[in-house]
């Protein structure tokens, strides 16, 4: 699966916020063998180049960087942040977040579509953070997005995949679009589940960064994503209502 023409070295994308230290972040990225790291620009960029020291640490991880517009609430903020990110990280990839509600940090789908159109027209390759809304997804694709990133649950909530039906529907409707579950994953089993549903990648941040041992949790997520990916490729069995014994019982002595 190609993300804007690029094959990722792994299907695990890792966020870089909230780690106890940059050293632990680097350990986690290594253990995760992350295919992409995301970095939030907004808070770090108070003042012109004031976040330079941290950005250098991110670049030194030697993993493709997907900058994001975390914390943006309007189209204008998001577009400005995207331009800043392109300059700082020399990439036209942008994870587009436009938050519409402050308690759930739910994406504002209307602003998201508008910002996605402006940015794709400007040459950006947009990874939109969205709800699992089917119609919204269609609009984002029409706006030029070639990857979709629906939430599993609100950012940092660790609740897993809240709407399995919705996520399945997205997968079924857009079989050829790279789909990434972004946000809400709390446990490796959630990540495995997303991959089993046929998602192409997952993006994790809080679940690793806020674990007691982030590097070990990163390793657990690496294994879970790999397990889910392999399981999907192996064509899992369907659920049945009736028991189907794996060993024949016919002919076995029942009065032993």
């Amino acid at each position: 699966m190609l993300f804007y023409g690029t094959e990722l070295s792994s299907r695990l994308m890792l966020g870089t916020a909230q780690y106890p230290s940059p050293e632990i972040l680097a350990d986690a990225v290594r253990e995760a063998r992350a295919g992409v790291v995301t970095v939030s620009l907004r808070r770090e960029s108070i003042g012109s180049r004031a976040g330079q020291a941290f950005w250098s640490l991110i670049r030194e991880l030697r993993v493709p960087v997907l900058p994001n517009t975390a914390g943006c609430h309007t189209v204008k903020e998001a577009v400005t942040t995207a331009h800043m990110a392109r300059e700082v990280f020399e990439t036209d990839w942008i994870k587009l977040e436009v938050i519409g509600e402050s308690d759930t940090l739910q994406p504002d789908m209307f602003a998201l579509v508008e910002a996605a159109r402006i940015l794709t027209d400007d040459g950006f390759k947009v990874f939109p953070y969205m709800t699992e809304d089917l119609v919204g997804a269609e609009r984002l694709l029409r706006a030029g997005c070639r990857v979709l990133m629906p939430w599993g649950a609100p950012i940092g909530s660790g609740r897993g995949l809240n709407n399995l039906f919705g996520l399945r529907a997205l997968r079924a409707h857009f079989p050829d679009v790279p789909l990434v579950v972004d946000a809400g994953i709390g446990l490796p089993s959630h990540a495995a589940q997303a991959m089993e549903l046929g998602y192409d990648a997952v993006l994790i941040n809080t679940a690793v960064a806020q674990a007691g041992d982030p590097a070990r949790m990163a390793a657990a997520f690496r294994l879970a994503v790999e397990a889910g990916l392999i399981a999907r490729a192996a064509d899992p069995m369907e659920q049945r209502d009736m028991a189907a014994p794996s060993t024949p019982v016919l002919g076995r002595a029942v009065l032993a």
Binding site: I24, A26, I46, G47, A50, Q52, A53, F54
Partner: protein
């Protein structure tokens, strides 16, 4: 032994009168060094130390810091109590708003040396918080101090020990001629983020704080308010002052506080007690904490220069142990 030629007392130039510089200077002077402390700013604590919370919270910090931070800071409360007045040893209270109760459980799993307290227990510790919270953690062995007063007391102590401190010093070289033509035997560089270009891996982490005055609330100890997005602490100081801090932003900007940070800090105070709604905002402050990639303060030696840096958010907590290490280097002693 590393001493000046023909002189029993090593001459030491300490650069930077923040918490690392002052604790190092005092420790060295106590061991008999001839200490000259030079500060580039106009007073002690002209950098990040001035904005510190002054919590001596060895056990709480274990929530996110590696074990060595706790281990190396166990001597801290005693050291401060032995060197500056008004060190409170009333412990720390950790609370969370009711809907964030899971944060208390997580904090408890990652720390130790605390007692779980219920609503009545919280009220017994802090009568003004009676009935406002159902569950919390009390860390009885921790302490706190007022950083600005403590730095001033260390300056006075240095002078009483025969050391000198001067301000408006040059960034390099020696101000004046304190040793009558002789060079210092050692330079102890405690200049914080100003040493960024000399020390590999050093970066700045921006912090913002607010100082409130509120006559209707009395607290005896720091309160940490846990929150999934914005953990905040509130440290009581004399004259009904409360320090509310501190944000952690991966930025080296010293620009004024943002509205968002202000809202977050003030909201935490208001959630702790609505009477803070009437508080006077006495001051807002911004500082840049120097930090190494592991966020642990380090003492490093380059030739005849000892660097004490990367204090991060542990300046008051870990300066005593780092200053002791500086003393061992200057006077000879156990290796690191």
């Amino acid at each position: 032994m590393m001493k000046g030629e023909g002189d029993a007392r090593p001459r030491v130039l300490v650069r930077g009168a923040g918490v690392a510089g002052l604790t190092s200077a005092v420790t060295l002077a106590e061991r008999g060094a001839d200490v000259v402390l030079q500060e580039i700013g106009n007073r002690e604590g002209a950098g990040a130390s001035w904005m510190a919370g002054g919590m001596l919270a060895s056990w709480c910090e274990a929530e996110s810091a590696p074990p060595e931070v706790t281990r190396d800071s166990l001597e801290s409360v005693d050291w401060w109590a032995g060197h500056v007045p008004d060190v409170a040893r009333n412990g720390t209270l950790v609370l969370a708003p009711p809907r964030d109760g899971a944060e208390i459980a997580r904090f408890a799993r990652r720390t130790s040396h605390f007692q779980t307290v219920d609503g009545a227990g919280i009220g017994a510790l802090e009568p003004d918080l009676e009935g406002r919270f159902d569950k919390g953690l009390f860390f009885p062995e921790e302490g706190h101090l007022d950083p600005r007063k403590a730095l001033g007391a260390l300056r006075d102590r240095l002078v009483a020990l025969g050391g000198t401190m001067s301000v408006h010093a040059p960034a390099d070289g020696v101000q004046g001629d304190p040793w009558h033509g002789a060079r210092p035997d050692w330079v102890v560089d405690c200049t914080g983020i100003a040493a960024e270009n000399q020390l590999t891996g050093l970066r700045g982490v921006r912090g913002e704080m607010v100082l409130l005055r509120c006559h209707e609330v009395t607290l005896s100890r720091p309160v940490r308010m846990l929150h999934p997005r914005i953990p905040v602490y509130i440290v009581p100081r004399e004259d009904h002052l409360f320090m509310v801090g501190a944000t952690m932003v991966e930025s080296e900007s010293l620009a004024s506080m943002t509205l968002r940070s202000m809202v977050e800090l003030l909201t935490a105070a208001y959630v702790l007690h609505p009477a803070f709604g009437e508080a006077e905002i006495v001051e807002t402050g911004v500082g840049v904490r120097p930090a190494y990639p592991d966020n642990v303060p380090a003492v490093t030696v380059h030739g005849r220069t000892v660097y004490v840096n990367g204090m991060y958010r542990h300046g008051f907590l870990l300066s005593p142990s780092r200053a002791r290490r500086v003393g061992e280097i200057v006077f000879g002693g156990p290796a690191a």
